[in-house]
């Protein structure tokens, strides 16, 4: 099962390698990983999407906690949270498909951030499932390039 884990770590040199090394060294899987400083610049937040059964997830959480630089680990699975990911998509947009691409942009509240005579570059934000849906719709028109940020999450409420 898929889990989204948020890890607060010391914003120090080498921390990313420690976390990545822990996953690779113990054979845990990383589906996506994003890192950036928090409001407190001495702390970074990593958002990791991983998968595994309950036993594996328990080990992942414990092992992350064991790292000296880890301040807090939260597994959002089963909790109420907002999840957002961004994708940049460069899609072929010739005479016959330009209008269709723009319709999709409109429906999904995406943005066109770059235009050439033969392509559009789109910025799409939303839950990963929404991104998947848009990408599926664009695929028949010819996606030249796709960059996804990996999701970030935040618990709902206070």
């Amino acid at each position: 099962m898929k889990h989204t884990i948020s890890v607060l770590v010391e914003n120090e040199f080498g921390v990313l390698t420690r976390v990545a090394g822990l996953f690779s060294g113990r054979g845990f899987n990383i589906e996506s990983l994003s890192v950036a400083p928090t409001l407190d610049p001495s702390v970074s937040r990593m958002t990791i999407v991983t998968c595994g059964d309950d036993g594996i997830l328990e080990q992942i959480t414990k092992q992350l906690n064991k790292l000296i630089d880890t301040i807090k680990v939260t597994d959002f699975t089963g909790q109420d949270y907002v999840e957002r990911e961004m994708a940049l998509v460069k899609v072929t947009a010739e005479e016959d498909t330009r209008a269709e691409v723009l319709r999709i942009v409109d429906i999904f509240r995406a943005k066109v951030v770059d235009v050439t005579p033969r392509s559009y570059t789109l910025e799409i934000t939303g839950a990963p499932t929404k991104l998947n849906a848009v990408i599926d719709l664009l695929r028949p028109m010819g996606i030249k390039e796709l960059v996804r940020s990996g999701p970030v999450v935040m618990g709902r409420g206070l």
């Binding site: 040199f13 080498g14 390698t17 090394g21 092992q63 064991k66 301040i71």
Partner: protein, 565 residues
């Protein structure tokens, strides 16, 4: 006062109570070595950086203090790797300091540059690269704190040469503050109560003790807990000296080369109380058949050890001393029910006694050839009560575990987790430095001895009277045993037939050597060696193809033991 980086390092060592370090100089630590002479810190110059780390490890295992080793950058640093990994696998507190090329050169493939922080990331509890002299004192303070608290382990500090030369105002922080590191010491009382209830309901309980109990110095608490319930006790290799092996409740070691009765008791138990043990595969054999009928209570300081390999019914995270004490208190509150419990466990004690009678730990004795087990038995009898025993890795190590009657904590030093050949001699060196007056004996094989035999020079130089026992079977015996049993007796690359004159080797270093090949000479030569001042090698030419038995074949359940070959 302003001090240089290298002076700050030495000041910090003093503040941490370090009186001895083990190491080897080189270009990127030359400033530290220069300043070392100004400080009341004893430096032991080993003949290899691996040995320096093992020696610091031996020092730590016997004293319970943090062992310290120093090496230069590049090859000096990479030579420490096996020592660090050995300590990491057995949870031994070390601080290893490596020199590094000057910070502007880092990343340039400079002369003798290696990324030792990267290399040791997965074999240290934590590691540091000093990037600013202002962080130095804090880093050293944290390194010692991390090494010795929680589940102990090695910490490496990579210390660039330019920072050793810079200077700054020195102030040693009196507190460690790390928001990400707060080990749990106090065992949860509700969990302890539940454990007491499980114990009161058990009819076939077994206590399974690992190296954690040694690190936590919990042997008294363990003994008290075991005696009040009369529950039998089995230990891992690293737990052997924690519980007196001659105690009536002792089952000896469990697992691959454990006793028949320990493995049978665990397999038939209805409650397994794991104390500072981690269910290593050499202990459990086939996991699915390990303690199949037992509820499992797992007490450990490290939450990641719990439920890593086996299901656990009741986890208790905490310091073993604390938890065992609380457990004894909880049982004390049920003291009027204890006699009934002990009575109800009578049939279980009977069952175990029958296994002990039926399948004791024995070997085929001989009048014509020296049996290695006989040497261990004689050593166990003849050495003093507080002798410190180290081993290398192989058959001799297992025979030591099987036939030496350990009775005091921190007297048995062996590489359990990593299984490092070459560990025993430098570890003995470190132990002897810590306890110059005690007997220190390295029980070795002919193969392992040659992995760090250069340390004879260190022993002689510092007058460290380590006694070295070589059980010479002219084989990499443990591997040969596997080849005999599982690989059609094809002894590929395991005979060590070049006859080495270990007596001459000892003498070449200025030590003493004895060599014997008849059983009737064994006691005599041990006594003679014990009386000889300085380091001594005792070579015993033993029965070459003796096997370590009983044995659980790899992948089998621990009750499926092969008793004799």
């Amino acid at each position: 006062m302003k001090k240089t980086g290298s002076q700050i390092l030495l000041e910090c060592l003093l503040r941490e109570g370090v009186d001895t370090v083990f190491g080897y100089p080189g270009g990127t630590v030359i400033n530290i070595y220069h300043d070392l002479a100004d400080y009341p810190i004893r430096h032991i110059l080993t003949r290899h950086e691996q040995a320096a780390v093992h020696a610091a490890d031996g020092y730590a295992r016997t004293t319970g203090r943090v062992g310290v080793a120093i090496a230069t950058s590049g090859p000096g640093a990479t030579n420490t790797v096996t020592g660090i990994a050995t300590a990491y696998m057995d949870s031994i507190p070390l601080v290893v300091i490596t020199g590094q090329v000057p910070t502007p050169l880092i990343g340039n493939d400079a002369f003798q540059e290696v990324d030792i922080v990267g290399i040791t990331r997965s074999i240290t509890k934590h590691n540091y690269l000093v990037q600013d002299i202002k962080d130095l004192a804090r880093i050293i303070k944290q390194a010692f704190y991390i090494a010795r608290t929680g589940r102990p382990g090695p910490v490496l500090i990579d210390f660039p040469k330019d920072i050793q030369i810079q200077s700054t105002w020195f102030e040693y922080p009196d507190k460690v503050e790390m928001r990400g590191y707060k080990p749990t010491y106090s065992g949860n009382l509700r969990q302890v109560e539940k454990a007491a209830n499980l114990i009161m309901a058990a009819r076939k309980p077994v206590i399974y003790v690992g190296g954690g109990a040694s690190g936590a110095d919990a042997s008294e608490e363990l003994l008290a807990f075991a005696e009040m319930t009369r529950i039998p006790v089995t230990t891992t290799l690293l737990g052997m000296a924690v519980f007196p092996q001659r105690h009536t409740q002792s089952l000896g070691m469990l697992g691959m080369h454990g006793t028949y009765y320990a493995n049978m008791a665990v397999t038939h138990s209805d409650l397994l109380i794991a104390v500072g043990a981690r269910f290593d595969d050499r202990v459990t054999g086939k996991i699915a058949s390990f303690a199949p009928h037992a509820k499992i209570i797992h007490i450990d300081i490290d939450p990641t050890s719990i439920k890593k390999n086996v299901r656990v019914d009741l986890p208790i995270v905490g310091d073993l001393k604390d938890v065992l004490k609380k457990l004894a208190d909880a049982l004390d509150r049920r003291s009027d029910e204890l006699p009934a419990l002990i009575h109800a466990m009578g049939p279980w004690r009977e069952e175990i006694a029958a296994w002990k009678r039926g399948y004791p730990m024995v070997y085929q004795s001989s009048d014509s050839v020296i049996k290695p087990q006989y040497v261990i038995e004689q050593l166990s009898e003849l050495c003093s009560e507080d002798a410190i025993i180290t081993t290398e890795v192989g058959q001799h190590q297992m025979w030591t575990a099987q036939f030496f009657a350990f009775s005091r904590p921190r007297t048995f030093l062996t590489s359990g987790g990593l299984g490092t050949m070459g560990y025993g001699l430098p570890a003995a060196l470190g132990a002897q430095v810590a306890f110059p007056e005690r007997q220190v004996i390295d029980i070795s094989g002919d193969g392992s001895f040659q992995m760090n035999s250069q340390e004879l020079a260190t022993l002689v130089q510092y007058g460290l009277p380590v006694k070295i026992v070589i059980l010479n079977n002219q084989y990499l015996g443990m591997v040969r045993q596997w080849q005999e049993l599982f690989f059609d007796r094809r002894y590929s690359q395991t005979p060590l037939e070049l006859p080495i004159d270990f007596v001459k080797l000892a003498e070449a270093y200025g030590a003493t050597g004895f060599s014997v090949s008849r059983p009737d000479q064994v006691r005599e030569v041990i006594c003679k060696a014990f009386e000889t001042p300085g380091p001594v090698i005792m070579e015993f030419k033993v029965d070459r193809e003796e096997n370590v038995m009983p044995m659980v074949p790899a992948g089998a359940a621990i009750n499926e033991m092969v008793l004799a070959s």
